[in-house]
Subunit: 600 residues, 2 copies
């Protein structure tokens, strides 16, 4: 078992050598920051994640929250960790100084949060959800709502939740039924039931601010009739001081496969007592508001999946270096000492695949965080717009790719451990269980695929796609060594084929029913995701090849050699798998579309 | 949640329409049987699995065996289930009538055991291990040993275990250290420690017969110095009546990710009291004996992986038919009723993939069981020999392929359920956890890959490989419809490329160090496995196409259409993925071989 949550050397490489995060300090918003302050915040996050979060990661999994007399009982360490996170200012890390924030870039905050998730995804869920809920109020709430709720959420006195899903509707938000009836008092009365609400109750804070999607009586059917409400667990006065209990009740806890430290709740609204809700923004705009925050939420899921994968990788790497077993194939003397299993090529294969998946996923999500920064703070307004479009396009990939390949890495980590990996005495099985949530929540990966091929690709006459190709072109041209140029060539050829197949899919989409094209949306997502991550590996390889030439120490040389070898793994072993995607998409394969329910 | 453990219609198709299992009754050993007796035994297994095993599958997972005062406490239902299995004669199902057996073919017994594993893999472990241990004594024990132990194992009075693994050696059996010292009394004194011994203690029977690998003092180093011993938990007289306790002690229970109902134990031998062991067969031949039983053990693992995958598939199919969510893409009216999720093409993709993996895996393992039957009972001695060679060759595939793709199916089953699949309120997460053991035990899949490419392919001048190609040729030629012929062509072309790459790998293996070739053994295993399973799908498709033409009912037509569509899925979506394997193998890609431990 290793203490390392994320390899700091790798993170510094990705942030400063690949992404030039230090250049952000030239922007007005970050002008009081420097690489030193960024590193100091990251150091704080790493240490706190280690000292306050990692300590009870296994305990919170084994001794999960319990539903006792209508209340949640959970480990006291979770509250301590939450407090430490809030007191260090991380909930408000991205916020303006005047709101008590640190005005940190998303690039740095995402990196910080990576440590907390790597240490303990269950406990990290509470502050992350609080930030997300606070963001909705900050952007769409009125001044009164902001004054009442934000200070207490940012200080960690209240937590927050996102209450979307309903039992009968699942992913189909168009079908939510929770109702909101206006009253003369300015508030609405909320009635209905929600399910799978993470952090919907806890024993950390007295109050919880639920951001609830509901339908105002008489609203249009479907997604255009949904509004967003603030529904506090405890009603508060204008300054946020708690008054009486509101009519939202914990109906039960859901027992999950992993991520057990984060409560997953069924909530009822207005069943036993009236439930007050406060409309956020305009009526019927709730889903639009929610989706404007969705890029960051989905990026957060991808980031989490990448770092849980990364954590398992580091554990299995540590184990493979220590564990003695067997001999090299060429060794014929049975009395020769056993070797560490990292000496076996097949074990190196499993480690290298994990490295390629997790460092690639991390690179993708850090790139996404940088797009968030550019969208909000790039000095050129045109670049801000473009960053937003690129972010929109890449969001389904940044959610889905790490959440497919992070769990795959965790699966390989178990296999490296062998029998030990299958026991609860070792940490990798928990990583694997925890990470299995990520392909499901915040829109299943099947829904991400529909979002990509059904909408994002074509948005604004495919402007996002053109921007992506321009961005990739820069890195294709930056390849200077023979190895990098060869990979750039593979990427460029694959990209051309993908563009061609995209055009032909676009034609069919226009002409016919979309069903035939969208039946293979998951295949397209795999193709697109692999191309984007190959690009991330080319960027890393370009940076590593350049740095290798000047590397002064063995440690540095080994680090850059490792990056190049992982890039080679991705280009030799992974990128070519899209050949099969291209064939299926070119043929507009109808195997799944034509399968009949009766034939199963 | 569905009650169906394995689709009986599918099983009948595979056993009788694809494999002609009924023809076995023409052989002398099975001459008292008929299709009716086979079906009656299968019916008994299905019913008993349902009534006695499935009932506590979830309970035994949640309330796993505990180590209390040096003893194991476990659910009483496990004992009842074990007794029912033993009393129905299943432990001795394959044995001669004179040993109290039923003289059932492996084909039928494997199918029967499929129901028990599908119902409850944890509880099924105890009788299966007992059969395996009894087989070792039956084949290699002396008459006294057989008389003393076999009747009590076959009746279920004693259970059995296979005690191979040691803490410091893991997969490297050459390094086991447990020692055996001869005494004047004819027995040996055993001293050492074993780990991950399944069923190493329990509260089902008073006695347990451990089959232990140990090294007689002065034996040669490595695998050629290992002997096999019978080590009973309680010493017995010549008739098997229990006398005093033997010096084998339960050192602890290991807490697993899944398969929790089967105890996984650490055992100590001769620590607190002398531990008697009885040599089986000749000294230093223990590993050879073990490996002669390994084909069947590994086939059992593959079978288990296929049916746990199958069980998850049936659950998710049931859920997809019932669960209403969203609308078809073409439906623009938000007030239209929601549809069952099986109507969404991406859900059908996930169901069809599961069907292709699990029915393909089942076909493979039933084919393997038939080879076991042919090896032992084919009337032509030449065919017996050939069946044994084919079985040898295919064993690593039959172990590894279902144990890769069964868990993959379980992963898809969770995804079909969405959020519900991630909860312990639904059954698919347990299937996924249980099945994760199968790529690890009985030789990890990495070791299967080395066995295939390092040994089995080349054995007897590749006679096994030639037999395989002959057997495939029969089915390639039997393809009569246009669809089947197209698939036969794909398979034939892929096979030719695989043969070519195999020859070139063989040359390098002879000339150079084997390391470069064997570094990619796992890639070869994937290639080889996919070709073999594609063949299994061609066999099913040929049978289905023929039967479809004469099908009399809608149910039959739907069944055969489903088989053909699943075959199409395998040929369009799965078989082409080996293109990437072929490239890596042709290039003798050295990415993993050349990765240095320092570079990680």
């Amino acid at each position: 078992m290793t203490d390392t949550l994320i390899d700091r050397r790798d993170l510094a490489f990705q942030l400063y050598e690949v992404l030039d995060t230090a250049s952000l300090t030239a922007r007005e918003r970050f002008s009081e920051h420097s690489r030193e302050t960024f590193d100091a915040v990251i150091e704080t996050a790493d240490r706190m994640a280690h000292d306050k979060f990692a300590t009870h990661n296994s305990a919170a999994d084994k001794d999960e929250p319990r539903f006792v007399n209508g209340q949640v009982e959970m480990l006291p360490e979770v509250k301590d960790a939450f407090r430490a996170y809030a007191e260090a200012g991380f909930i408000a890390g991205r916020y303006d100084y005047e709101l008590g924030g640190m005005q940190l870039p998303e690039s740095v905050m995402a990196a910080c949060n990576g440590f907390f998730t790597a240490a303990n995804p269950g406990t990290a869920g509470y502050p992350f959800l609080t930030t997300a809920a606070a963001n909705l109020i900050r952007v769409f709430g009125n001044d009164q709502q902001k004054a009442t709720f934000l200070p207490h959420m940012l200080s960690g006195r209240f937590t927050g939740t996102m209450a979307l899903t309903e039992p009968h509707a699942g992913s189909s938000l168009a079908d939510i039924r929770t109702s909101a009836t206006p009253t003369d008092g300015g508030h609405y009365l909320i009635k209905g039931a929600k399910i799978y609400i993470s952090g919907g109750d806890q024993s950390i804070t007295d109050n919880i601010i639920h951001m609830v999607l509901a339908r105002i009586k008489g609203a249009p059917a479907g997604v255009r009739g949904i509004s967003l409400f603030i529904v506090p667990k405890v009603l508060v006065d204008a300054d946020g001081n708690p008054q009486q209990r509101n009519g939202v009740a914990l109906a039960g806890l859901i027992h999950k496969l992993g991520y057990r430290g984060t409560t997953s709740t069924a909530l009822s609204f207005g069943d036993d007592a009236p439930c007050h809700g406060y409309l956020v923004g305009e009526p019927h705009q709730g889903l639009k508001y929610m989706f404007q925050m969705m890029n960051e939420a989905r990026l957060g899921v991808g980031f989490g999946a990448a770092v849980i994968g990364y954590r398992g990788y580091l554990h299995s790497l540590d184990y493979a270096r220590e564990r003695l077993q067997g001999r090299r194939l060429a060794e014929k003397n049975p009395d020769a000492p056993q070797v560490p299993i990292i000496e076996h090529a097949d074990v190196r294969r499993m480690l290298l695949a994990q490295k390629a998946y997790c460092e690639g996923g991390l690179a993708l999500c850090l790139y996404g965080a940088r797009l968030v920064d550019d969208q909000h703070t790039h000095p050129d307004p045109q670049k801000r717009l473009e960053a937003g479009k690129l972010l929109d396009l890449l969001t389904p990939v940044m959610k889905a790719w790490p959440s497919e390949f992070g769990p795959k890495a965790n699966d390989l980590a178990i296999q490296v451990y062998g029998g030990a990996g299958y026991t609860r005495e070792y940490p990798v099985e928990q990583c694997w269980r925890d990470n299995r949530l990520n392909p499901i929540h915040e829109g299943t990966n099947g829904i991400q695929a529909l979002d990509l091929l059904g909408r994002k690709i074509w948005q604004d006459q495919s402007h996002g796609l053109q921007l992506l190709m321009q961005a990739m072109q820069v890195d294709l041209e930056a390849a200077t060594t023979a190895r990098c140029q060869q990979w750039a060539l593979s990427l460029s050829e694959t990209l051309q084929q993908a563009v061609k197949v995209t055009q032909s899919l676009g034609k069919t989409l226009m002409q016919d029913s979309p069903e035939r094209v969208l039946a293979n949306a998951s295949v397209y997502l795999h193709l697109f995701g692999h191309i984007v991550v190959a690009w991330m590996w080319l960027r890393q390889a370009n940076a590593a090849a350049k740095a290798l030439a000047d590397a002064a120490t063995d440690d540095d040389r080994h680090f850059y050699q490792g990056k190049l070898q992982a890039a080679q793994y991705f280009f030799h072993w992974e990128l070519p798998t899209v050949a099969q995607d291209l064939v299926l998409l070119r043929n507009q394969d109808d195997t799944c579309l034509n399968m009949q329910a009766d034939w199963f």
